[in-house]
Symmetry: D3
Subunit: 250 residues, 6 copies
């Protein structure tokens, strides 16, 4: 079920205890020389919509919040962002609209690395006022970590930025948007975690061209396989979580 396609009456009739509302969040930001700025939004929406198809009776999908917390991309240009503290507030307010309407299960489904900390903090801020609700947040890649890794050929087995995984996924979902002649090996990026220490650097410092990993190893076939595995895994996990009794969360 899609929230934006339903009437107020239809939404009112949904069970507040059983319905899980999913808010996809992403980003529109520079994605290196070969990928569109909407990469995260395209992938996250595609995953979310496919998952919604699989779980219709359990899940109500909101439209994707394309804006992300992307200040660390600003120096590359071509990036839309909210200040990270205001992004937290924004997520809180969307979720509060639902929680004040009585819904007891809300999940943020994320497609942009920069959103992870703020989305978790948003839920912490909400939890103080809504202690009896199921408040969930995940990036699609944290749920489908093993599945994604199983398809990757490069050394890095996780989703980076305009990398092997994202490039493959866009090649599958919107092939016309990949500038294939600009693809390169961007494996020279600096991690933000060294010896257990978080080194706060923006993407201008961490990458030579605004991208990471091995998009040169990407393919539409790989993207198709990965997409299918992600959807299957995310659907399974959400089905399980949304079936857990709320009484587990007193």
């Amino acid at each position: 079920m899609k929230y934006a396609e339903m009437t107020a009456v239809e939404l009112k009739n949904l069970s507040r205890e059983e319905t899980l509302i999913v808010l996809p969040i992403a980003a529109v930001e520079q994605h290196g020389p070969h990928m569109p700025t909407g990469t995260d939004e395209i992938i996250c929406t595609a995953v979310a919509e496919k998952v919604e198809e699989c779980l219709q009776e359990k899940l109500v999908l909101l439209p994707t919040l394309w804006l992300g917390a992307s200040q660390h991309h600003l120096r590359w240009g071509a990036t839309l962002t909210s200040r990270v503290e205001n992004y937290e507030t924004l997520l809180c307010e969307i979720c509060e609209s639902l929680l004040n309407d009585g819904f007891r299960r809300v999940m943020i489904l994320n497609g942009h690395g920069g959103n992870i900390a703020p989305m978790q903090i948003s839920l912490r801020r909400l939890q103080v006022d809504f202690p009896n609700c199921q408040l969930l947040a995940a990036s699609y890649w944290s749920i489908a970590e093993a599945e994604i890794a199983s398809v990757m050929d490069g050394d890095c087995k996780t989703v980076g930025h305009a990398c092997e995984a994202e490039t493959s996924l866009i090649m599958h979902l919107r092939p016309e948007l990949v500038r294939t002649t600009k693809i390169d090996n961007f494996d020279d990026y600096a991690s933000d975690l060294v010896d257990g220490v978080y080194i706060c650097r923006d993407m201008f410092q961490r990458t030579s061209a605004g991208a990471t990993g091995r998009p040169d190893l990407a393919s539409a076939e790989k993207g198709a396989k990965m997409f299918s595995l992600i959807v299957k895994r995310v659907s399974a996990v959400i089905r399980k979580l949304s079936g857990e009794p709320l009484s587990n969360y007193p």
Copy 2:
């Protein structure tokens, strides 16, 4: 051109003086018994995308911010919203991302009545820091007021809420989303402007069912005609404004 489909390099190559960036904003909120909560988002996006087709060389379209300032609908349920003061900040931040990236012409194209005051205030907040930029905001109906009126049959000739105009437009754009059996005459709504005085009431007070006007007079044909007139007029006005020399705005 669509911002989210372009790469950072392509966006960087655009003229900062000549390019107009358009941010469509809407709402996802209750729309009476017969209309989907995404009504404003659907209409505003459709108008914006059609205008973008007409003005390709001049305009870069952002994805639609579906979230609106909709607190006045909350008591009807089925409404997602930001606090109005935070909504102003949100609009400022998206525009600042563009203005700090050097773009000199930004326009907010609105599809939700509750956004009018906050979007204007957002531009006022931005104007202090970006006095030399062209900062524009309009609802599609304020640009195409005469054209819309020319198609309406009910007494009310302007766009209300889930009214003759909106219902016709959705009948044209997404007919499967209109619950035609729930359509009624909702002409019993209270205005928020009486004798020149703004009476601040929410939609729970102003309407009997969350809708206004005469959706019973709506038709897909009317919607098609209206849509075509709106797109034509909005395109013409934007073409004219984006062609005006920036030196007109010292």
Copy 3:
């Protein structure tokens, strides 16, 4: 009745259901070469006090908040202002003082164009917490639009800035404060609404001297007539609104 002249006991004894409290708001800002910076405050206070005389039993008048949302005048100098978002908060807090004290009817009576959007937003912010109260806002010119137009000779029939109307009113109310030798025809100002589009420009961009319209057509006689018509009309509208049963606003 004037709030500031009453004791706490007397205020406590007023009916919370029937009493309308009026908060006049204005601005102290540059008003072109010929008018005092206090123009809006002088006019708004004079109107409010005269209206209070007419409606004594119904109305409690607060002192005028002379500060306005005037950032768009700052580049002309001689302007006191609050940031527009803080101005909203300021209005909310004054009204909250009254609403938390039990009063059910509050009206903001405005004398400065820049306050219109923030005062409306203030009421929207308040309405969420005080849904059962009568929350009103108007500029004196929006109530007495026809009356004002009937007295104007210039092409522009509405109240602008240091224009025919304001200059006439100050010539009537405080003639010694008008620098008549500096009066000119300022009809070369740019509107902020073109083809239905709000063009956000400050007064430094919109005017050549910080003033608009035809103050050269102003006269004390015109001011006297206009003032009398405004007071009569505003009094009549307030009398009507304050007499409406609160049950009309559930």
Copy 4:
């Protein structure tokens, strides 16, 4: 000189180095059973205007900000207030308007006890950005402490709330606003400073009727004498401070 009576051009022509701008601040709040809620505003404005008469060539007087930080009176009703943290911001913004316009000397002249801490904090917040400006704040009673004490007959020699001093001053300035039959001995109030410890209690806890001290000892003659002494002393101190070279404040 009165700011609100001057034109922008006249204000522009003032010396930024030599002119001292004075902002009177007060409160509109309950003042016990016998005094009008506007007491502080009336006294502070009267002092400020008389001082302005004495120091015309040196001083530009703003209109009085009647709103104060008065949350500690709320439980008595009949009180208008801003939250204390927002009141600080409000004072900052008014002063910033002046300091950004180039004025180098600003003084807040206060007539309400609850404003003392926030006005000092406002100046501290401003001082970070305007280190080379003369930023002054005083309550009229802190300048004229000895003069006021010399006229008082009760044990308490300082200005309290609706006390001997304030009642005398209003008897002198606006005798018709004092409800003489309600005057009593209110000397049973609790101090907020005991043994060097600040005990934070509101006026509902500190007084039996919202007033302090010995208004039963008040008289118009005493008020006249006190007023004259206050004006003389405040004028002398301001003349001295405004004459000090700015270079003393590097």
Copy 5:
């Protein structure tokens, strides 16, 4: 009793009516050429811990919040600070943690002059929500004013900054931290209160070396005597206040 050394169960078992929780606050900021930046923190903690020893059964001591409101020292460098408005919020939040946990008596014990106004404002902000609690704040020198004066030899008998009193106290408490060769007569400082007027200047303007008074008159003996007197007096005052019935503060 020390809060940080107790378990949750032990804290839960304390009487909410009788227990006084004390929060020491200080600063880490430049202290002239001869004193460590931690001066205020060292003194305030020493006083607080000694007082806690004397009043064990009555008092629960929090660890010292070493951060202060020290923006007025920033231009000297070597200063850690919060913006003054955020410092107020910080104090509110710590106290709210206690008040929401049911404790009815809270005291801020201060060791830094710049904290006085913000700590008082914090309590005013809290008092609105916790009107039935005992909310206290004091600097150790305001409680022990006479005792401190009795030991001082310089003209200034109060605690300044890196002055005779503070230097003596650190000579007593942490002698190895005083750079005795850098000690000088710093009696050339400018007061921030002149003729009853608060002159807002930072320490860069008010002092020639970031210190005030007569540290050249300091001695460890003087410090020992002063410390003992302070502890005795503060203990006595707190004992008295914490013994007062809460019903005194309705």
Copy 6:
């Protein structure tokens, strides 16, 4: 070197390029039935001070900010906290004091799980304004993950809350503060990460007694060994990071 023990002049003389300033942050919050509320503060301070001893010439240690982001412990009582969004601001302000003073290397050393997300966000907020500085953050356990695991006997090899690790460390550092009779097996806690999904629950939901893991396996010897390994590893990592050329972080 300890910041609070140094004078302003000594701090001024430090190399801005080479000096690393370390801010330890912790929490004072409920720690189950057997551990003091100050557990995190005690451990983090002990680690930081020992590391400082090892790295004297390279590192300046600030005093520990004992306050943490601990709202998720509030329902257990005995917890001091800041709202998580304000905690971010607090960390920003302390670091800004240093960065504005010219220091180019700042590290937050954390001892409380709830601080991880806010401390990372603080650095992201700072990075926008200080892109050329080394901004580091780590929990002691993330640096010494392997070392800690090597000492643990329970199934859980990481630092939880009042668990095997923390209990052992306090048994080593402050044995008198452990209530050994209250120690139990608390291995029945719920994780906040399930199948890659963050489930936002507070400690009242996640634990049966406010503690996690196997404190029944704790011992002072284990604590001593663990402490020594932690200090060694943290010292080594900090030495390495602080030696890296700043030019690595353009």
